[in-house]
Amino acid sequence: MKNKFLALLTLLALPIFAFAEDTLNTGDTAWMMVSTAFVLLMTPAGLALFYTGMTRSKNALNTFTMVMGAFVLAFVVWIIAGYSIAFGANENAMLQNVFGGFNHVMLSGVSWTDLSGSYPTYVFIAFQGTFAAITVAIASGSVIGRMKFSTWMVVVALWGILVYAPITHMVWGGDGALLFDAGALDFAGGTVVHMNGGLAGLVLAILIGKRAGYNTTAMKPFSIILTAVGAALLWFGWYGFNGGSAFGANAIAGLAVLTTTIATAAGAVTWMLIEWFVYKKATLLGVASGIIAGLVAITPAAGFVDVTGAFILGIVGSFVAFFGVVKLKKIFGYDDSLDAFGIHFLAGLWGALATAFLALNDKELLWDGPLKESGDRMGQFWVQVESVVVVGLWTLIGTIIVYYIASALTGGARVDEETEHNGLDESVHGEKGMNL
């Protein structure tokens, strides 16, 4: 796959050289267009329902709007500049480490006839745009119920440029990009998407503070049925997310489809069992949470591991996320409203690190890096650690900056007390979730 990226980048940077082997393959093109649609569905339907169901009824529409609004705005930002920063090839080698430049602002220099390997570059751009848009939408889960919608919109726009695009460049940006050169393995976005979005959520949650009544009043979810449907749609869309990250309808995509299903099913069964042992009850929210934990954990490894690896990733992923959601949050007392950090960051972190040990030592699957070159698993592990630390720090600092700018531009990030009491649906959007 790395070769695909390379081919793509070369193509973009040096449009004069046409590669003989770059002809459109209809099967690959069909799969990548389908994958784009699948990943799209994950945000305004999957994630939106997943989060809306978990929020209190008075914030249900606000939650949905934060996710859907984030998606459309982030996608616009992606086309305007995000793509260029992420996948452009900067002539300055130093900058190329983290920043692809502005050559492709508004997709200038890209034509509908350009190919990215065996399918149109335009499809690659749309596909990657849905990744950019879901990542920031994930973060919304941590600040539900208290952030101004206007602040959130500014956060979304800035974050797409300052945090998401550079991180994507570092990991997937081709030759000269920091973590790409280091040989980090991140098949479909364990670091880029899940750790990134989950950590941004935590940072925002801490900066904006807890919801009024947190830990003293009951905050009951609107409807777990919506959450479960959201989880099912996320699962469905994730075939595009992981399968599409093989960039073609090939055997690696097939592997990703299978490992994704196994890890997810195993993660869900695990969460049910944990609940059964701890509470003597298996909840639907638990099954749904296990599904997401499994999906997140397999993401960085989907095209690298085998059946056993998939089972391990899913099972341990559920334990890690369960711990994050049930224990860690209580210990540190932050208010990660819908557990974006607890699930996406932690399971993503687990997957990213475990990939070093679980990836098959198979040169046809691996990307360049210590493991492929010399079967050096510990070397690969340190590269994974490096990528986790770099991404983590960038997100941490970037999100803090973005938060303060957004807060300043919109006169404070937090809604007033009465609005929070009455719920954001009424005051912020002037709508009601349900009129029976």
Binding site: K220, P221, L285, V326, D339
Partner: protein, 113 residues
Amino acid sequence: MKKIEAVIKPFKLEEVKDALVEAGIEGMTISEVKGYGRQQGHTELYRGAEYVVEFIPKVKIEIVVSNEEFANKAISAIKEAAHTGKIGDGKIFVSEIAKTVRVRTGEEDEEAL
């Protein structure tokens, strides 16, 4: 005239209604309420957060009858039909109604019932 308000367990509604109709009472108004009392609620569980549900779903029945006799009939009917013997079976309250009007006809008091 008397007003009888009874708070009962929701799944007993059908039986109570039948008992009342049998006792000759043909009009009533019901609403969904929540009760707090000796009966302990269950615990709800959401991702490790446990909420004790202290307010338990109940149904309130309101019946206005023309006299003491009917009131007593109604009370016995409810007492019997709503009874399970377990905590939380509910309560019956009786109060005085000064006037009744039927909107459709304008009839008043006993005639309106």
